[in-house]
């Protein structure tokens, strides 16, 4: 290229006083940014190749490396920001749709950060979670409305199938293919050891992972990859994926290059063929159609497993959820606009969908108003970042949350947002064997267990502070929340009062 409009966004800054030319950075950067120059006995870096994943930074044994934002700037312009100019140049060069990975990074309000949690003082006692029992267990599924009795007056067990979780968290759908075997194994083993569930995503289930069935949600998406009766019966629940927060309204595309070996077998498609998930399910054009799929899946699994319907948080989410709650589904999963993805068109990721906090609050309210809240449990995802976010989500009406990006961070992800390149230096979003082995599942699953254990402690601390000893009594308890810096409309949708009120 004779001329390049784009100056690297980041630079790998090397402290030559500390670099011992061990070349670990060179060996570990799959993007080939670092290079050893023999004549000079010196490391150099081609910053244009760097995606800022911090792999080299983390491994450099002498802390000689750091990544800095390159100082190169255009003339300041609030309207035409450097980012917008760069993206425009990139498209003028390539003629292509911009792609990116992970969730929406743009400057939209994060409502969780504008909500504060209550605590007890004087008039009602707080509880010490270390001394008193504290319940974080939740059970997901439809709850029967009426008590039924047999002719002798004994209560008939009319409870539909439920999912029992030790804490209100599940790992959300990430397909085998979009993430690596070792990442899947880490999630499955962590779910098993924590007593929660992970989700296969739409790529089917690798035969090695059937043994984690008691901790698995199997997903059925529009591509129907890897779906067969044994698969449907292998998990504890079935999730119908209608939409995903990062890219509402569009399907998925796993390039043929990634459909190799085990992945092709698991997805049940030929090696090298592109795995294209259509945007809609072509057999679902109405709630009635959805109902048919829900019941065919229930039929296939002998009515033993709850069915989850997952949708992206879009403008009419509450109405759609109301339809789903009447479709026979047991659980609704809503994915907010900050939810992550392996690859999405950048414009869609950054401009489509609505914040999960608002979607959750309005859905919960609508279902309660219509008297059908007990028909379903609500699971929300789309950037749950901490135990505080979980507590706030539960108080806004969620039964449970879905976590994906947070889980990947625990596995080493540094949010470089280049998952779509397939060269994840942390062995997560890649199928290159040399990269996959960088994620040791023995270490990965422990880090996930550590994270969730820590969050569970924090949830108990916060509940104790509010004087609540069971997560069930926190659910929908909006009095425990106050907003700061929110306008009347936002407060009304969230159903909470302003701080000081």
């Amino acid at each position: 290229m004779a001329m390049n409009y784009l100056y690297p966004e980041y630079e790998a800054a090397r402290n030559y006083d500390r670099c011992i030319t061990c070349r670990a950075c060179e060996r570990q950067c799959a993007n080939g940014a670092h290079e050893y120059v023999e004549e000079a006995d010196k490391m150099v870096c081609d910053d244009s190749k760097c995606v800022n994943c911090h792999r080299c930074v983390a491994l450099c044994p002498t802390r000689a490396l750091k990544i800095v934002k390159s100082g190169n700037t255009y003339k300041e312009n609030t309207n035409w920001s450097g980012k917008i100019i760069n993206e425009l140049y990139r498209q003028a060069e390539s003629g292509g749709v911009l792609l990116s990975g992970m969730g929406n990074p743009e400057n939209f309000p994060v409502y969780f950060d504008k909500i504060l949690i209550n605590a007890s003082q004087v008039t009602n006692p707080s509880i010490d979670p270390l001394r008193e029992p504290m319940e974080t267990k939740v059970s997901l599924g439809a709850k029967p409305r009426d008590i039924e009795r047999d002719e002798n007056g004994r209560i008939i067990n009319n409870l539909p199938p439920q999912l029992s979780l030790s804490m209100p968290v599940m790992f959300s759908a990430m397909s085998y293919g979009s993430i690596s075997y070792n990442a899947h194994e880490s999630l499955a083993r962590a779910a098993e050891s924590l007593g929660i569930l992970y989700n296969t995503g739409e790529g089917g289930l690798h035969e090695d992972f059937y043994k984690y069935g008691k901790n698995t949600v199997v997903q059925v998406a529009s591509g129907r990859f890897g779906v067969h009766p044994e698969y449907l019966n292998s998990g504890m629940a079935i999730e119908i994926k209608i939409g995903q927060g990062a890219k509402p309204g569009i399907g998925g595309h796993l390039p043929g290059a990634k459909i190799v070996g085990d992945i092709s077998r698991t997805r049940m498609i030929p090696e090298g063929s592109d795995a294209i998930s259509p945007a809609p399910h072509h057999d679902i054009y109405s709630i009635e159609d959805l109902r048919q799929l829900v019941f065919s899946l229930k039929e296939a699994t002998n009515y033993e497993k709850p069915v989850i319907v997952k949708i992206a948080a879009v403008h009419n989410v509450a109405v759609i959820a109301s339809g789903i709650a009447r479709s026979g589904a047991d659980i609704i999963a809503i994915d907010g606009f900050r939810g992550g993805t392996g690859a999405a068109p950048t414009r869609i990721r950054d401009n489509v969908g609505i914040p999960i906090e608002l979607a959750l609050a309005s859905t919960d309210k609508r279902l309660r108003d219509e008297g059908i809240r007990d028909n379903v449990s609500i699971v929300v995802g789309g950037s749950i970042r901490s135990s505080a976010d979980i507590v706030k989500a539960v108080a806004l009406g969620a039964d449970c949350v879905y976590i994906a990006t947070g889980a990947l961070l625990a596995l080493g992800c540094h949010l470089c947002r280049s998952c779509h390149s397939g060269l994840c230096n942390w062995g997560i979003a890649t199928q290159v064997p040399e990269l996959v082995k960088r994620l040791n599942p023995d270490m990965g699953y422990k880090r996930l267990v550590n994270l969730m254990t820590a969050w569970r402690h924090e949830i108990k601390e916060m509940m104790g502070g509010m004087g609540i000893n069971s997560i069930e009594s926190l659910k929908g308890n909006r009095l425990m929340l106050r907003g700061v810096g929110l306008n009347e409309k936002e407060l009304a949708i969230l159903g909470i009062r302003h701080a000081g009120e």
């Binding site: 006083d17 061990c22 491994l59 044994p61 000689a64 040399e434 040791n440 270490m443």
Partner: protein, 135 residues
Amino acid sequence: MGCHLCEYYCAFAGTDGSDMARALKGIKINPRIKIEEKDGISFAVSCRHCREPLCVKGCITGALTVADGVITIDRDRCVSCYTCVLSCPYGAVSPSDDGAVQKCELCVKTAEGTPACVRGCPNNAIVFEERECAE
């Protein structure tokens, strides 16, 4: 995963410095653990601390000895005949930079307790464990 950091932690453990950058700056290292790579597979080669060590058997001066299952070298006795270098089936003994030979001594003389390569490996690929050898 082929990062070769174990080699550098090994070399660092052989110095008495406290800062790796200062200790290894400008030095071409000659570690006692070496990564062999072929076809995307990497393997860390270091002394297996054999139950019937050919190196000890072959050593002409008695410089190599077994103590508590660890095979160590007495540098004062070593005359650099390299019999051990030739006799080790794993290639785990090598000439050092300053006379005598060198081999992995499980860091009994240097780092505290756990071998430096084991502590330094970012992926827990090297572990330190006693094994009943199947001979």
